[in-house]
């Protein structure tokens, strides 16, 4: 340990090891935290159409339009290791041709520092709610849930679903709007 190079080498190796251990420790302190929160969802309007799917496969599919209200308090999910929360509202349902269908209708990025209490009214879906076929017509069991992905500064990326969910019954015919 008497040359500059060997001292620099030792120092560098030690620094790397310490930083790795510290990062692991930091990750472990927040890895098992419960990131769930209560969510309240309400649907105010539903409309069903049958349109050629212009976003991709060119076949006539059911297209749904949903307007909803979201209310959630996400303050407890934020801590020093959370960079942002990626919130998304997804509709899950089952049809004759597909056992599981999930479509993300709306999303939002919530950075640390922004207001964690959400109270949004009359939100229209951001993305087109196309079904793969005609499974939305008369479907009584389309469930909307709000979920979020916790993006940490360092650590695992958990996906958490909020506790509130709402079931949307779709109308039996096209072009008729139902208000709740």
């Amino acid at each position: 340990m008497n040359t500059l190079l060997s001292r620099a080498n030792s120092l560098f190796a030690f620094t790397l090891s310490v930083m790795a251990a510290l990062t692991l420790g930091c990750i472990l302190t927040t890895a098992f935290k419960d990131r769930s929160a209560p969510v309240s969802l309400k649907v105010s309007r539903v409309l069903l159409k049958k349109v050629e799917d212009f976003t991709g496969p060119r076949k006539r599919s059911d297209l749904g339009f949903i307007t909803f209200h979201i209310s959630a308090d996400l303050e407890k999910t934020f801590d020093w290791n959370v960079k942002q929360l990626f919130l998304y509202l997804s509709a899950e349902y089952s049809t004759k041709s597909n056992a599981v269908n999930q479509v993300v209708l709306w999303d939002k990025i919530l950075l640390r520092g922004e207001n964690p209490k959400l109270d949004l009214k009359d939100v229209k879906s951001k993305y087109f709610f196309f079904d793969d076929g005609h499974g939305l017509k008369g479907n009584r069991n389309v469930t909307l849930t709000l979920s979020w992905q916790v993006i940490p500064i360092a650590g695992i990326l958990p996906l958490v679903t909020g506790s509130g969910r709402v079931s949307v019954p779709f109308p039996d015919s096209y072009e008729i709007a139902t208000a709740f």
């Binding site: 991709g56 942002q84 599981v100 479509v103 640390r112 520092g113 940490p152 990326l157 996906l159």
Partner: protein, 213 residues
Amino acid sequence: MVRAGAVGTHLPTSSLDIFGDLRKMNKRQLYYQVLNFAMIVSSALMIWKGLIVLTGSESPIVVVLSGSMEPAFHRGDLLFLTNFREDPIRAGEIVVFKVEGRDIPIVHRVIKVHEKDNGDIKFLTKGDNNEVDDRGLYKEGQNWLEKKDVVGRARGQDGFSERYYYGKHEIPGEERSSLQEQHLQFKQANPVLKPAGACRSLAVRMDSGSEGL
């Protein structure tokens, strides 16, 4: 104190006199050093291959090369992937997939899933920072991705290259010409990843204009 014949404890005349050291060793010492080196390299290789088996993914650690998943992942972030095929693909998950014909994988979020009774899944992805979904990135005529296109699912990240986690941060004074702005938009819509091998450098530093897809 210097003991004659004890190689390795002999102090070199300058700190950079490596070849002097080598010349003073006899054959056995040389072989020992070579074997030592080979042991280190093969241990690293074993750990890497073991990680591939453990995670089920052919590329368990990847580096993000573009900004299409900002502000979650920035360029230079390391992602850890797993690929357990029994886990179904669900909306909201971040998947790393390869498009046929391109060898650089893409990391984006799943926004639509349609799964049949027999387990056949087709899904659609979109980058958080992109305006449109990824159908423009898939092969000509391809509208959905399937399980076979998935390289892995992002499960964790290291924190080392994240510098600006309080929101968007522009380096003051960095103005972009309109051509650079277009280039940046194109890169944002075409995200890329590079698999980080044990023998390649793990963190890739990018400057804004020089890397291609």
